[in-house]
Symmetry: D3
Subunit: 123 residues, 6 copies
């Protein structure tokens, strides 16, 4: 690997460690490192998107996990459930999120099964 | 339709109107009415699951919409975005939720594409 | 279009009409006709797979619709619900199928959400 | 865990064992036990939905597995294939179900790829 | 809308028009404009990712459409099929891509249905 | 197993080995062998669909993997990434394909989240 590239990766990895308060780079970021442009894009976007805004970081992590459950992405479910807890999510909050995910997935299919038409007030 | 059944449906429909503060039953619930057992189950579960708990009702609605976006369920996206707003979600909160949904769907696929192994700390 | 190709398409279209007891080719098959190899493959496979075997044709159509609901494919839900009814499925059977589809989609996500490990007896 | 809760869980677990004719609670139900309301809801709904109706229990299990295959839920595929067999599904029935699932998933995508419009007769 | 924001949006819109050789901003980009940070991120990433690299732009568009078909995203299928053609994709190429998408979706489900274990040589 | 069936399976297996230039039948094809009709259909279709046409075999394999990533099918991702490389795909091509898959999955959800209407020019 070229020297310049190594410096670039190192800088991002340091930023990940500092921002996440961890000592070891998770496998996700190591995998992306084979594609430095993608690593840089993905990390910068994630930092920007998951930070406190109108929604607090815990809510954002719970939404992230809800999507990952719907997509059956085991790595994402485990790593972002851990992140949610680190940021303050309680076990009860996680359970309630899973309840909502189950309900929404069920009702999404009822809508398809009965081919429900959109009500005028929702258009 | 038998008298007893009509009474049962009417009772659920009144409960939906009262609970949701609406005058007209949305098409979703009308469709389920062809299957009264399912209607009753689904309404009771939804009332129970979406009420205030460790998570507030707005957060629950946002999670519901996030799942519906991931599943491309147009009816569900529209009706529950409306519900989220009615319960207090701002446009900014909805935008940030969509940002997270996009990011999570992208990263879920990076994990699959690179076949990232689960880190020990997440097991 | 070349003469030979036209004859080939015509033969498949006649087979579809006869087999399905219809007078008009549905849009699905018309769309595939732009790709005659695919049309031929798909029609032959469908005829073979959906015919009576250990499972009766109604059960097969219900399974087909269950998959299409899970994938939110409106065309497929509508055309194969119609096919199921034509082959003898009652409204009650269709409702119960939709109930199972909703339940399975919900429980699939509970399994993911709680990261349930496979029991030894299922391995 | 409080005494009352333990009694409630025990009652549901006994019902699961009796109803399923098993001696050991599968991991799925143990996972849900962390959320007793969800456990109770899910078990009661499952018992009600999967029982004999216009569709027999074997057909319902096959539909359940078809959905689980479409969602790539390994636990659900394994546990409900086992359940289907216990209720009388033969290997041949399971193979034919998988054939239909493959075909439907393929054709669902052809419909999307060619953007097939819904025929008037299906509206 | 504040003056500064308007200038920023205008600049991105001009870049989209120039890069895509179009006179009218498509609805996708207009929708994202309600969330200028997301608009900027998404446009910059798309420009970077879809440009010529080891893969040519036509191949990249075909891959984009293949994903969109798998997700049943009508807007994305239509707009990126148009983009693929503009960049040089022939009807025959698009048909063959759809064939592959159908086959892969079918075989993905066979793998799940038969719970195929990963061969050693693929680990 | 009957003699005739064994001969039929053997013939297909020989064809797979020869066509793929391998000495050992992968688990996927072994699993399908329990359903010889399906094995024959699937192998013949795959041979036909994945061969050189308007699209070259490498592009077809990349599209196949892109679909498999979107569906989170680990076996398919691993086996067809290997196939793509065997046919000439470079690591850089695979990385760029994964970039496109991530982007498309993200944008598919933005379209759903903002309920973007199809532009006239795409109809």
């Amino acid at each position: 690997m070229k020297k310049k590239l190594k410096g670039r990766l190192k800088k991002i990895f340091e930023d990940i460690k500092k921002n996440r308060k961890i000592n070891k780079i998770p496998n996700f970021w190591k995998s992306l490192a084979h594609n430095p442009d993608n690593l840089e894009r993905t990390w910068n976007n994630l930092k920007e998107i998951m930070k406190k805004g109108a929604l607090d970081p815990v809510t954002k992590e719970l939404i992230y996990v809800a999507v990952s459950i719907t997509n059956h992405c085991d790595y994402c479910i485990r790593s972002h459930t851990a992140a949610a807890k680190k940021k303050g999510a309680t076990d009860q909050m996680i359970k309630e999120m899973i309840d909502v995910v189950g309900l929404a997935n069920q009702n999404n299919k009822f809508v398809a099964g009965y081919q429900v038409e959109v009500d005028k007030i929702y258009k």
